[in-house]
């Protein structure tokens, strides 16, 4: 069973991701605050974390940094309605392989599933995978 941690202060976004990814057979844990995410990661390992950049209090960037240090094997995908993946902090994180992908809101659930599959499949040597703005891209 692949454990995925979803961190978004919008409960309904968590619900949508859980519904879509749950169908793919993943085990989803959802939290709405960065502090809760850190507590979850301290408690048990996750294969992947999907983290909203904008979170009340501690930002998604900061949360990613902390949980990445807590569990260096865990892969992190950012999700945001504010940033674009060409934004400097996102690009920088991807270049340094802190983030394996970026999802822009609103999103196609099929493409999120595809992105998650690819990120999980890639080994440490493959380059980071980005969700393409062009949704017609075949997977």
């Amino acid at each position: 069973m692949t454990d995925i941690l979803v961190v978004d202060d919008e409960k309904d976004i968590c619900w949508a991701l859980e519904t879509a990814l749950g169908d793919e057979g993943y085990q989803i844990t959802q939290v709405t605050r960065g502090e809760d995410a850190i507590r979850e990661v301290r408690r048990r390992p996750f294969t992947l974390a999907i983290v909203d950049v904008k979170l009340p209090g501690m930002s998604g960037i900061e949360v990613s940094r902390v949980i990445g240090q807590l569990d260096p094997r865990m892969k992190i995908v950012l999700i945001s309605g504010y940033h674009y993946e060409e934004d400097q902090p996102i690009q920088e994180g991807i270049r340094r392989r802190m983030y394996r992908g970026f999802i822009s809101k609103p999103f196609e659930l099929d493409e999120v599933s595809a992105l998650v599959r690819r990120v999980l499949a890639e080994n440490e040597n493959t380059p980071p995978v980005l969700e393409e703005a062009d949704h017609d891209r075949t997977v």
């Binding site: 919008e10 309904d12 976004i13 619900w15 949508a16 991701l17 519904t19 879509a20 169908d23 904008k54 009340p56 209090g57 501690m58 930002s59 900061e62 309605g81 504010y82 809101k105 609103p106 999103f107 196609e108 659930l109 099929d110």
Partner: protein, 562 residues
């Protein structure tokens, strides 16, 4: 004809300077004043006197006449009036005919003549002709008495000119200038008042000035005048006035008293300025500053809308894929509905905020004004890792004012805090009701803008939803940002003052906030410490006396001026 001349001046020191052809008969009684004294009086009075005999020849000219006319005795004594005065004067004054009439016993009480002696500036004389009769009632002599009124006349002309000048100053003024008697009846009404309010001076003079105030405001000026007459200080008041066409104009008045020497009030003077145009410009400035603030917030608002969009889109995809599950179908449809409603609310708040304020005076729930403002900007703030804490008092009286403009005040203060906390922090918004005047600044160095004012009178219209007179609502915005250096503290409300890089801020936000709060009769206090943060406290009177809910517009949406 050259008459023989005998001058009494040669023989009597007391009549020195006058000329006699022969001594006129002068009334005198033994044992009383002597003739010499009479002659001396005639000689020395500062008016000109000529005495004619029955053949209308000069028999006496006093000293003053000889000096003023620059004539020697020989040029006067024994001469006719035609020999002495230039023809043009005789022509215009009918002096010869009047002299003949006087000889017939008809005196001339007084007329003016202008006489110009050779080489001298012309002088104006007031003259009379008096028949001098003997005991039998026959006219023996005629006295021409001439008083030099040149100075008096020119003084009078100067006074008249000064009066005309003052009157035209009042008439040419662009401000309304009105005077009233102590009972408030209009005495003068200048042309600016005619032009601006449409009533002519004859329409107004004698009428009551307070008639021009709408009924709801009439109590205020009446009290104001009573106070003025009791000897109060000059009073300033913005009031809407009913113009001739029925429309209301906002006029800023300054009333003072006109007192006579003993300090008794004889009149009230009002100088008023039409604020309509100024207010329109202010509204336009407020609007542009608002648009600039909206520009700063655009990113945050976009994000705020993208979340419900993402939810709607995801839920629709789930519905399409797994719509056969009745439980999931219901859940997805519910989420689409909720998220669409959220997006609609954000857009509505945005549009409400963006549209120009019409200066409407309404009942404003301050808590909801704060919430609506946060719905637009709160997201952008928390995006910068700023934690927002709301401590809203549950029972805040709805205050009289303009919600749109008050939201703009909050928006500008919140944006200021946002820029003060680039590394994140804590932002606390507190609302509370204070019973009277807000207390002075706390222990931190602070400055209040402006000094709090005590409401002048309670507003009779506020009986509908009574915010208690004297109640104030306080909204406190505290940030943990960089703080404001002492030297900038007194400048932050100045227009165009900004510490942000060129292009980042207009420098208008806080000055607009100040101006709006001032128009609501309130004050803004700022306390700040570099490195620990700033607190802006907006204090608003629940029922500002000058913001009146007009009875025309009903209970909640009424015409007004902010």
């Amino acid at each position: 004809m050259q008459p023989s001349v005998a001058t009494k001046a040669n023989r009597s020191p007391i009549s020195r300077g006058s000329a006699f052809l022969r001594e006129p008969t002068l009334p005198s009684r033994d044992g009383e004043l002597g003739a010499d004294l009479y002659l001396d009086i005639l000689a020395s009075i500062p008016s000109s006197i000529l005495i004619f005999d029955s053949s209308l020849r000069v028999v006496f000219a006093n000293r003053n006449f000889l000096v003023k006319s620059r004539k020697g005795q020989g040029e006067v004594l024994g001469k006719t009036i035609g020999d002495i005065f230039p023809p043009v004067i005789l022509y215009y004054t009918n002096l010869e005919e009047n002299l003949q009439a006087a000889q017939m016993g008809r005196p001339l009480d007084g007329e003016e003549m202008e006489y110009r002696a050779p080489g001298l500036a012309s002088r104006v004389y007031f003259y009379s002709l008096t028949p001098l009769k003997d005991e039998g009632g026959r006219v023996r002599n005629v006295m021409l008495f001439m008083d030099d009124v040149t100075e008096k006349k020119s003084l009078g002309e100067r006074v008249a000119r000064a009066e005309r000048h003052l009157a035209s100053v009042v008439e040419s003024a662009n401000d309304l200038i009105v005077s009233m008697d102590a009972h408030g009846a209009v005495m003068t009404w200048n042309s600016a008042a005619e032009r601006i309010l449409g009533f002519s001076a004859p329409d107004m003079v004698g009428g009551q000035f307070v008639q021009l105030f709408p009924d709801a405001e009439r109590a205020n000026p009446e009290g104001l005048f009573a106070q003025l007459i009791r000897g109060g200080e000059p009073q300033e008041r913005e009031a809407s006035m009913r113009a001739k066409g029925g429309q209301e104009l906002l006029i800023a008045w300054r009333f003072s008293t006109m007192k006579e020497e003993r300090g008794q009030v004889v009149a009230l003077v009002g100088v008023g300025r039409d604020l309509t145009e100024k207010r329109q410009l202010e509204l336009r400035l407020i609007q542009s500053a608002k648009m600039a603030a909206l520009g700063e917030m655009a990113g945050g608002i976009a994000h705020e809308i993208r979340n419900p969009l993402a939810i709607t889109s995801s839920a629709a995809q789930i519905l399409l894929k797994k719509g056969r599950d009745p439980e999931l179908r219901r859940e997805a449809a519910q989420k689409i509905h909720t998220a669409a409603g959220r997006a609609a609310t954000i857009i509505e708040n945005l549009l409400r905020f963006a549209r120009p304020s019409e200066g409407l005076v309404e009942r404003v729930d301050l808590n909801s004004a704060v919430e609506d403002t946060l719905s637009l900007i709160g997201h952008q703030i928390s995006l910068q890792s700023i934690e927002i804490e709301k401590r809203l008092a549950p029972q805040v009286p709805r205050l009289t004012g303009n919600k749109n403009q008050l939201q703009q005040v909050f928006m500008n203060i919140i944006l200021n805090a946002y820029h003060a906390m680039p590394e994140g922090g804590k932002f606390t918004i507190t609302t509370r009701v204070v019973p009277a005047i807000p207390p002075p600044a706390g222990p931190l160095p602070g400055r209040e803008f402006p000094e709090p004012v005590r409401p002048l009178a309670s507003n009779p219209q506020s009986a509908v939803d009574p915010p208690q007179a004297g109640q104030w609502v306080e909204i406190r915005f505290s940030d943990t940002g960089c703080g404001i250096p002492e030297e900038n503290l007194h400048r932050i409300f100045d227009p165009f003052f900004t510490t942000m890089p060129v292009g980042s801020g207009t420098g208008l936000g806080l000055s607009i906030a100040y101006s709006i709060v001032r128009q609501h009769g309130g004050s803004i206090r700022v306390e700040s410490q570099v490195g620990s943060g700033s607190t802006f406290t907006v204090s608003l009177p629940a029922a500002p006396p000058h913001l009146v809910l007009s009875p025309i517009g009903g209970e909640d949406k009424v015409r007004g001026r902010t």
